[in-house]
């Protein structure tokens, strides 16, 4: 380029323009790398997260999930005072015990008064109509002696009373 050409004097402008183009390309490139693919699919968040949230493992299966192997207990509970109490409430989520019919781990069986008292200990905040006991008085009234598993002497947790 000749020194008397007007572009020769505009060299600093050309440089600045080139730098701007490089900056814009870098921005577009970085954005495409850093912004997740599904961003903005449904809103200002990562759309793929919806599917991820939905695909999480379901661990509680409800009483129906116990029926296949424990049909007797299932029937007993359904026809007695604990019909609304869920198997998994006293034991554990079914997924910790069996998955797709395959045995995983022993199901916990808590034969402890503490378990019963979670619901039936007399408390002033509980609804009056709900069956509650003052455990020591209750056991002594029946002529027994209070112990950590005393409830099961008289009550079957699957069919209480």
């Amino acid at each position: 380029m000749r020194q008397d050409s007007p572009l020769w004097h505009a060299k600093h402008v050309v440089r600045a323009f080139l730098l701007l183009i490089i900056a814009v390309i870098a921005l577009v490139l970085l954005r495409s790398l850093l912004v997740p693919d599904s961003w903005g699919q449904f809103g200002w968040y990562r759309g793929d997260n919806i599917a991820e949230q939905r695909a999480k493992e379901q661990r509680h299966g409800g009483n129906i999930s116990c029926l296949e192997c424990h049909d007797q207990e299932y029937e007993t509970i359904a026809g007695a005072g604990h019909a609304n109490v869920k198997c998994e409430g006293c034991h554990a989520p079914v997924a910790l015990h069996a998955v797709d019919g395959e045995w995983v781990k022993e199901m916990p069986v808590r034969r402890e008064a503490e378990l019963c008292l979670n619901c039936h200990q007399w408390l002033d905040a509980r609804p009056r109509a709900f069956p509650q006991v003052r455990p020591r008085e209750h056991v002594e009234e029946q002529g027994g002696e209070f112990g950590p598993a005393v409830c099961f002497d008289c009550h079957d947790p699957h069919a209480p009373l």
């Binding site: 449904f42 949230q53 695909a55 609304n84």
Partner: protein
């Protein structure tokens, strides 16, 4: 005076980089990152779980209802929630508070270990005249302050009305934890991200109810669909006296309470 390289004192000190070599390295790094992204696009996505593909989130809007008069404070819901959602010890996505008021109207409120293992018979001080349990969880507010403050868009409301946290995107800044007036959020110490009740989105959108609703032995917790006219929750909301927590904050909570006392915040 030491001799100045490139006419700039301290330039590239430490790493021994000049501007030229820095730019060269930058080009290399960008090329590597770009090729990584291309490979990422080619590889197939991870297999999804057993998800109900017929679920259309535009045809549902979930709401929750708690009957404080029915709750017995057994803590089954909090235990089920922990087991279902891997909630770390010491954090709660749902918890139960016990309110006891004496004749003077003074309230004694406690929630030992979130009520997860039930409540003990301890003195409240004074003669208890009024007492009840209040289960709490995220209110999934329709005008929620928590998603507004998220600086990275990691927290959002789904079209079916559930407020969620994307733990892959969350930076754990804790703004949302402070923004929630109900104390429903926490920082999960294992993932270092914000964590909260999801209304068991993985169950709700696949034909089940939340773990807490399913496990409650007295039916104190109900979840239902406002878009489904046959859902019994709509009849309850239409005919019974219901309330929300702190309505004065205008967050439009989607957890309704029946039998709520004005002492409850």
């Amino acid at each position: 005076m030491q001799d100045k390289k490139n006419g700039c004192d301290g330039c590239g000190d430490g790493l021994g980089l000049t501007r030229r070599t820095f730019l060269k390295h930058l080009t290399t790094v960008s090329a590597v990152v770009a090729s990584g992204a291309v490979i990422g696009l080619i590889l197939p996505e991870g297999a999804a779980g057993a998800v109900d593909s017929t679920y259309d989130w535009t045809r549902h809007r979930w709401v929750y209802l708690i009957d404080t008069r029915a709750c017995i404070g057994c803590g089954s819901c909090a235990r089920a929630c922990r087991a279902e959602n891997d909630v770390p010890e010491g954090n709660y996505r749902t918890w139960i508070e016990r309110y006891r008021m004496n004749a003077e109207g003074e309230a004694h409120v406690d929630s030992p270990q979130g009520g997860e293992f039930g409540f003990e018979r301890i003195k409240a001080g004074g003669d208890v005249r009024k007492a009840f349990f209040v289960p709490k969880l995220c209110n999934h507010c329709a005008a929620t302050p928590c998603t507004q403050v998220c600086p990275v868009g990691a927290s959002y409301t789904t079209r079916d009305g559930v407020v969620l946290v994307d733990k892959e995107h969350c930076i754990g800044c804790g703004y949302c934890v402070q923004a929630c007036p109900y104390g429903s959020r926490f920082i999960n110490e294992e993932t270092h991200t914000a964590d909260k009740c999801t209304w068991c989105y993985h169950r709700l959108t696949n034909g089940r109810k939340t773990a807490c609703v399913d496990i409650c032995p007295v039916g104190a917790r109900i979840i239902g669909d406002r878009e489904n006219p046959d859902d019994p929750i709509n009849e309850i909301i239409a005919t019974q006296r219901i309330h929300v927590l702190q309505p004065e904050l205008l967050t439009k909570p989607q957890c309704y309470y029946s039998g709520l006392d004005m002492e409850v915040r």
